[in-house]
């Protein structure tokens, strides 16, 4: 009996009139938990009853506490007939089970009915007394904290990041169980709501168990989804990242670990980044500093030991062969083949194209349960190919057996895990070392009934396949981990597309425990040796790999852009140049990732939302034929989306995408693809070239005219965009210095015909950055379409910025004005539209939606729409549904300008200092460059398998770019500790999240008096101008609303408007009842809307989640924390004295 749940029903208000005769209600309440039910007395004839009940006590297992919600039903007593239900409240007990979260639930909660919506409110008090249960075999996982936030929560510190946790549970969907098709809406909806509550609870408990098993105490980036598979059942699945978190207790803690205490510190890093290179440069050889870094770190802290082993990774990474995709390369494959499905080589797209690449009859015969299984052998094949390539490539240039050993060791830590995946998108400093490209996998499945809900093996197996594939893609990119990982599904009838995507990356093992500790110890000394050799300057024979080993010292905000691989071994034509920041290491021309922009990254100008939208019609079909058709279409869809993204990126003069999210939605007659990302100009990457339009038949003069007009339009747009986003990289500097790069690339080229591009592939000169072109050939109808798509994207109105990441680079001084919103649109299409027509409609739909948002929020200007999250669905034939949830943040324009100036002034200086040091390496690098480009090995790699290998990775993994991200953190931490006080304080002001450090920790005391009347909601993990002082637990709610009087409720729009408002209200009320005043990382994960206008009916399901928190405004904090702060200074002084 390890738990006692206590509930007290205090009062009700605003109840509906249940008795027409008296215009009053005789209300009473049933309180149910598990199988136990209590009732209050009837409070007669009142719309505002005061029950003031006794404490109802439930003695239950903690397992049940986790699984079950507390159900409160308000009823109207009726002497003669059955009592009428007014509505229900489900209360998730979970936040009360964790000592660090909420202690009591108390407040007015809306009484909800699935037919009538909110019907008054009820005031309840809920408490839990937990007894410690030390049973090792327990099934509960009380106390494991869950966070939707995809970064380390603000008032915690990550001690350990254990890794990926996943679980899924399945059940029959009550909606489909009604005998003889007699469906009573209320009973059916309530059964469903309750079931999903139960399943979420169970899922969370199971995940919690896994976390405990791993030794963690929290799940970060918890993502739970529902698959409403219709007749085949209901699947609730979740993924997350298990961590061991430590609450940042009090002042001394932050004072001693300034670098890893909270993400807000990340903001400071650019400054350190700027300073860091300066120091070693002036002193010539960078080594002394490095040595210091090590000596000061490794003995003191356990994690520092691990971090030193991360250095070993650094030196290893270059060895790992990244299979890299040039965005232009794939073009050849697709454009050339008239019958793509036939042409796609087997090793292409092991997952996505499995349907097309596999001889269908063979498979069908194998899959007896009508479920399409696909052969894993393809991915293995790819793997083999990749690894073979890797070893072959690296053999030639291997710097020595030591590194091979190191590589094995560090990678083993991650390889021991089943899935080295992380749902985080923002990382504790020092965790993320190298960013690879985007990896994704999709699989088309046919749903069948889940026969045994207790053994959800098929669904598990499906996801396992996908994850395996993601893992292998990451591997083939030379990365041992996948970050920013997420999974999703799209279901239409019996066809289901499973998708997973993430960013291949190399992580520091500093936060990971799996690696054998003594090995790390042993290894940690070896890197030191490497460094000492380095101190005598990197010699020519050490080559790039050696110099890469030192990158951590040099790289400021550019480190993560440097390529992690040896350019000799690039099996495809990538455009490599020297890093525009440090000039020492090569960087790719474009970088795509699914994570948030690392805060230390140096960015020129501002970012913007970039979307690729695509519609493809398909024939109506059934079963396997349908699945086959879909999987045949998928690669084209992804390719087109990719091309669009690339074009739009170039049009905006930017060179990197963050937060990339590609959603593919399936309907009966079409497929919908929507890719959203935030484009930025990474200072370290080369300036993107323009877009050149070429006509194929140059004879016609008017045609030429047309083309040149278009060209002019495009050029103008690019110029305009550069101005708009303040992209003005300091190109002058490079001229002065005399960069080692022969010629900065001016344009890139999109190849649109097979013959042309294949020629180009063989002659591509990797390192010379030869004047390549991003050519759109106009005779190609697709190209015309592309150009139209490009030019129809209207710019954001003045004063607006938009992004789908957490923060917008270049904007810092947010005001406290925030406005979260959800907007949903459903569009009805005409029948018989062409692909082009569809595309245009879909694109316009998204554009208009954005325009509407800007208009709505015009009073907040200047403002930025952050975390713009688009979800598309095809609820019915000929219907497209787009839902957007985002937050608008106002910022202060004046200060922005000042900041802009400041950074503008700083950049050139920085560049110069960097370049100073740069020169020292020029010779070696040049030599190496030439050798690598000439190297017959490299050439043959590229030349011999261009059609087979290069595109294969691109398609199968959709991995666009790889780049290395070298750890700088210890150095930075060091700088902080050494006390660059000036920098720190100034940055604190400028940071977008000016979260005070030591003083802000005094949270709890100062909070007590605050009002909870207003509850803020935001999809971001923070609240500008405020400090989150406590996480109260996860909010995960599922509601169904149905109506049979659609017209009377204002039609579909009125119905949904009310429902969304109700959902917001319920979220706010539950947060307030937990004692919170905000929800962060809020998201609407599901919004399924169905209507039947003929019957005047509609139904909608909404699933939302987020983290309930208490925040305190910075200004309040300052007032309230005067006293504690003095205490802080004392303690910290004392600490320093010792």
């Amino acid at each position: 009996m390890p738990g006692k749940l206590k509930a007290k029903i205090v009062a009700g208000r605003h109840l509906p009139v249940m008795d027409r005769a008296s215009d009053l209600t005789d209300a009473f309440v049933e309180v149910k938990f598990g199988n136990t039910t209590f009732k209050t007395d009837v409070y007669p004839k009142s719309l505002n009853p005061q029950w003031n009940s006794e404490w109802f006590k439930f003695e239950v297992d903690d397992e049940d506490l986790q699984d079950e919600p507390l159900q409160i039903t308000v009823l109207d007593h009726d002497t003669y007939s059955a009592n009428d239900a007014i509505g229900k409240v489900y209360i998730d007990i979970d936040p009360l089970l964790c000592s660090e979260a909420a202690t009591v639930i108390s407040g007015w909660l809306p009484i909800y009915d699935t037919i009538h919506g909110i019907r008054g409110e009820i005031n309840v008090l809920v408490k839990v007394d937990l007894f410690n249960d030390l049973n090792r075999f327990r099934q509960s996982s009380c106390g494991v904290k869950f966070f939707c936030t995809t970064s380390i929560p603000r008032c915690y510190r990550a001690i350990m990041v254990h890794g990926f946790v996943e679980e899924l549970v399945v059940n029959e969907d009550p909606e489909y169980q009604w005998i003889d098709r007699i469906r009573t809406p209320r009973a059916s909806n309530e059964a469903r709501q309750r079931l999903i509550f139960l399943m979420s609870g169970e899922l969370q408990r199971k995940i919690g168990l896994k976390v405990l098993e791993m030794g963690g105490n929290a799940v970060v980036g918890y993502l739970q989804c529902f698959d409403l598979e219709g007749e085949s059942g209901l699947v609730v699945r979740a993924i997350g990242t298990a961590c061991t978190l430590e609450k940042i207790s009090t002042f001394p803690a932050t004072a001693t670990h300034p670098s890893n205490s909270s993400p807000s510190k990340d903001m400071k890093e650019p400054v350190f980044g700027e300073e860091a290179p300066g120091v070693p440069l002036s002193s010539g050889p960078p080594t002394p500093l490095r040595a210091q870094t090590f000596s000061s770190f490794s003995p003191s802290k356990s994690y520092s030991r691990q971090s030193s082993s991360s250095d070993t990774e650094l030196s290893l990474t270059p060895k790992t062969v990244g299979i890299f995709l040039c965005p232009s390369a794939p073009a050849l494959e697709y454009e050339s083949s008239p019958l793509p499905s036939a042409h796609l080589p087997l090793h292409l797209r092991p997952r996505m194209a499995s349907m097309s690449s596999t001889p269908p009859p063979f498979h069908v015969s194998q899959s007896d349960s009508a479920m399409l299984r696909k052969s894993v052998s393809f991915s293995e094949e790819l793997l083999l190919a990749a690894s073979g390539m890797g070893s072959g490539g690296s053999a030639g240039k291997d710097a020595g057996p030591l590194k091979a050993l190191l590589k094995q060791q560090t990678q083993s830590a991650l390889e021991q895990r089943e899935y080295p995946f992380f749902t985080l998108t923002v990382f504790p400093p020092g965790f993320l070392l190298h960013v690879g490209g985007v990896v994704s996998a999709r699989s088309v499945k046919l749903l069948d009934r889940i026969h045994n809900p207790d053994e959800p093996e098929t669904r598990d197996a499906w996801w396992e396949e996908i994850r395996q594939e993601i893992k292998s893609h990451a591997k083939s990119l030379g990365c041992h981990a996948v970050v920013g990982y997420s999974e999703s599904t799209s279901i239409c009838e019996e066809v289901c597309i499973l998708s997973a995507s993430g960013t291949a990356a190399i992580l520091s093992s500093r936060f990971m425990q799996d690696g054998p500790l003594d090995t790390e110890l042993r290894l940690s000394q070896q890197p030191l040796c490497v460094f000492s050799t380095g101190s005598e300057r990197v010699e020519g024979d050490m080559g790039s790999s050696a110099s890469l080993g030192f990158e951590e010292v040099v790289s400021p905000g550019c480190g993560f852009c440097h390529i992690p691989y040896d350019e000799l071994n690039i099996p495809f034509p990538a455009q490599l140049t020297y890093c525009y920041c440090c000039r020492r290491y090569k960087v790719p021309d474009v970088l795509f990732t699914t994570i948030d922009l690392p805060t230390e990254a140096s960015v020129t100008g501002k970012g913007c939302l970039i979307q690729a939208r695509l519609c493809r019609t398909k024939k109506k079909a059934q079963g396997e034929v349908n699945a086959m058709a879909i999987s045949n279409l998928l690669p084209f869809l992804e390719y087109e989306l990719h091309t669009q993204l690339m074009n739009k990126l170039k049009l905006r003069g930017m060179n990197a995408l963050f937060g990339l999210r590609i959603q593919i939605s399936v309907g009966e007659t079409m497929l919908l693809g929507l890719a959203s990302a935030t484009g930025v100009y990474l200072t370290a990457l080369p300036s993107p070239g323009g877009i050149q339009i070429v006509g194929k038949t140059p004879s016609d003069i008017t045609y030429e005219q047309h083309i040149s007009n278009m060209q002019k339009k495009i050029n103008d747009t690019i110029t305009k965009n550069k101005e708009l986003y303040e992209i003005n990289p300091p190109e002058v500097v490079e001229e002065i210095i005399g960069s080692p790069i022969p010629e900065p690339r001016q344009r890139s080229r999109l190849f649109r015909s097979h013959s042309e591009s294949s020629d180009d592939v063989s002659e591509i000169d990797l390192s010379h950055g030869k004047k390549d072109a991003f050519v759109l050939e106009i005779d190609d109808t697709d190209a015309v379409e592309d150009i139209h798509a490009l030019l129809t994207d209207s710019p954001t109105p003045a004063g607006f910025y938009s992004c789908n990441t957490e923060i917008m680079p270049g904007i810092q001084n947010w005001t406290s004005a925030i406005q979260m919103f959800t907007s949903v649109r459903v569009f009805r299409l005409n029948a018989n539209l062409t692909n082009q027509g569809l595309n245009k409609i879909f694109s316009d739909l998204c554009e208009n939606l954005l325009k509407s948002l800007y208009f709505k929020l015009r009073s907040m200007v200047p403002c930025c729409l952050c975390h713009l999250n688009f979800t598309v669905a095809i609820p019915e034939d000929e219907l497209i549904q787009v839902a957007v949830t985002a937050v608008a943040l106002s910022f202060d324009k004046v200060q922005t300008l000042e900041n802009g100036k400041q950074s503008g002034e700083k950049t050139p200086i920085k560049a110069i200092t960097e370049n100073d040091e740069q020169l020292q390496f020029n010779l070696e690098l040049n030599a190496e460059t030439s050798s690598s480009s000439i190297s017959p090995k490299g050439l043959s790699e590229v030349g011999s398998h261009p059609s087979a290998r290069a595109p294969s990775v691109d398609y199968s993994s959709f991995a666009d770019r790889c780049s290395s991200w070298i750890e700088q953190l210890k150095l930075k931490a060091h700088t902080i500790r050494r006390g660059s006080v000036k920098t720190t304080s100034s940055m604190e002001k400028a940071s977008p999240l000016p979260e005070g450090r030591s003083r802000s920790l005094r949270s709890n005391r100062s909070y007590s008096g605050s009002s909870v009347a207003v509850v803020k909601m935001t999809p971001l993990s923070f609240i500008p101008g405020a400090k989150i002082i406590k996480y109260l637990g996860i909010i995960n709610m599922f509601f169904i609303r149905e109506t049979s009087s659609l017209r009377e409720e204002g039609g579909v729009s009125g119905f949904l408007h009310t429902f969304i408002a109700e959902v917001f209200a319920m979220v706010r009320a539950h947060v307030a009842a937990l004692g919170g005043n905000a929800v962060v990382s809020y998201s609407m994960k599901e919004c399924v809307f169905m209507e039947n206008p003929n019957k005047n009916q509609a139904q909608c399901l909404i699933n939302v989640s987020g983290d309930a928190v208490i925040f305190v405004r910075e200004s309040e904090l300052e007032l309230t924390s005067v006293q504690p702060q003095s205490a802080t200074t004392q303690t910290s002084n004392g600490g320093e004295g010792t």
Binding site: N848, R858, G1050
Partner: protein, 357 residues
């Protein structure tokens, strides 16, 4: 191809004041969009007509959803469905309960019944105010009336507390309720020159001086009804005109006081008895509910019109009424000083207010 569903829901409910006003004015969505386009909001914000339409529809929907709450403004503050900042709430309420003077003149003093509501389309055509807006205003009157009717205590304060209205608006509503309750006739042609504010002023005077609450606000009864006892006592004033001596005495006192101070002395002297009879008769008849209704007509017919035809100025009027009231107290046989003061105080300020073109 058409937008089938289009909603926008903010955590803080976004409401545009301009659109709110258009909605209150009873414009259709399309008309509202036209007005907004003419207002130039499109150029300001780089929007298209489509965007404007979507926004307007969305706002209209929000207002419709809020309307239910606005009927009980106190609920707006503790409802959970919409998160609206307090200043916004106040704005919503104030504007919702605001009314057109033109409209209120049409229904002032009428019974707030279904019958009256049915005639609102005539009112709408007459005033040029949309029927929708007329209905809202009428329903507001009725709602306030119904709530306040049953309440004890000061009328204005009750309205202010129950409907969270600003002071001036609460006073106006008090006037409307008071007029509706006593069914004062305001629609006659002779009264057309009077504005709502004229009547509201008079209502304020009546409420403050002639109701039960005026004497003792601890009284069980309310502000809405006139003090019956007082009305009864008014009959005693008749002596001022029935007693010939008193009347003559009164006249001579007033004439002495006014001689040389006014340009209309002669007309005043000639008309004194008529005017005095008029005022005292009004007082004496107020005990009958029917005559209460005609209070304003009587005032205008019996007093204001004769004076106006004699071209009295407001100053003359003020002078006359002051001396007329004060002289009565000097009369030896006149005993009803308290009632006289209570009566004439109100009459004087009402007449002064109503005496204009």
């Amino acid at each position: 191809m058409s937008v089938e569903l289009d909603v926008f829901v903010g955590n803080t409910t976004i409401m545009d004041k301009e659109v709110y006003q258009l909605w209150l004015n009873g414009y259709t969505v399309n008309d509202a969009v036209k007005v907004r386009i003419e207002g130039g909001v499109m150029e300001e914000c780089e929007a298209s007509a489509e965007v404007l339409l979507s926004d307007t529809m969305d706002q209209y929907r929000t207002f419709q959803m809020c309307e239910r709450l606005l009927h009980h403004p106190a609920k707006l503050a503790n409802q959970l469905l919409f998160q609206i900042p307090p200043d916004r709430q106040a704005m919503l309420i104030e504007r919702y309960y605001a009314f057109d003077d033109l409209f209120v003149r049409e229904v002032l003093g009428k019974k707030l019944s279904k019958g009256t509501k049915k005639d609102l389309d005539d009112v709408s055509t007459k005033t040029g105010i949309t029927l929708k807006s007329c209905r809202r205003q009428f329903d507001n009157f009725k709602r306030v009336f119904k709530v306040v009717e049953e309440l004890k205590g000061p009328l204005v304060e009750n309205i202010r507390q129950h409907f969270l209205l600003p002071d001036q608006l609460a006073r106006d509503y008090a006037a409307i309720v008071f007029f509706a309750n006593n069914r004062f006739e305001t629609g006659k042609k002779k009264l057309q020159y009077l504005t709502f504010q004229d009547f509201a002023f008079c209502a304020g005077q009546l409420i403050n001086n002639w109701t039960l609450g005026a004497v003792d606000n601890m009284m069980e009864d309310m502000d809405v009804d006139l003090d019956k006892e007082f009305l009864q006592d008014l009959k005693d004033l008749k002596i001022l005109i029935t007693d010939k001596d008193l009347l003559d005495q009164h006249k001579s006192l007033v004439c002495t006081a006014l001689r040389g101070k006014t340009n209309v002395y002669n007309e005043m002297e000639a008309n004194f008895k008529n005017l005095s009879r008029g005022l005292v008769n009004i007082a004496a008849k107020l005990i009958n509910a029917k005559d209460v209704r005609d209070f304003f007509i009587d005032l205008v017919e019996k007093f204001i019109e004769p004076c106006r035809s004699d071209k009295w100025t407001s100053i003359d009027m003020n002078l006359y009424l002051t001396h007329y009231t004060n002289s009565a107290h000097i009369l030896d046989t006149f005993k009803h000083h308290a009632v006289w003061t209570r009566y004439m105080g109100v009459i004087k300020s009402c007449i002064l207010r109503l005496y204009h073109d």
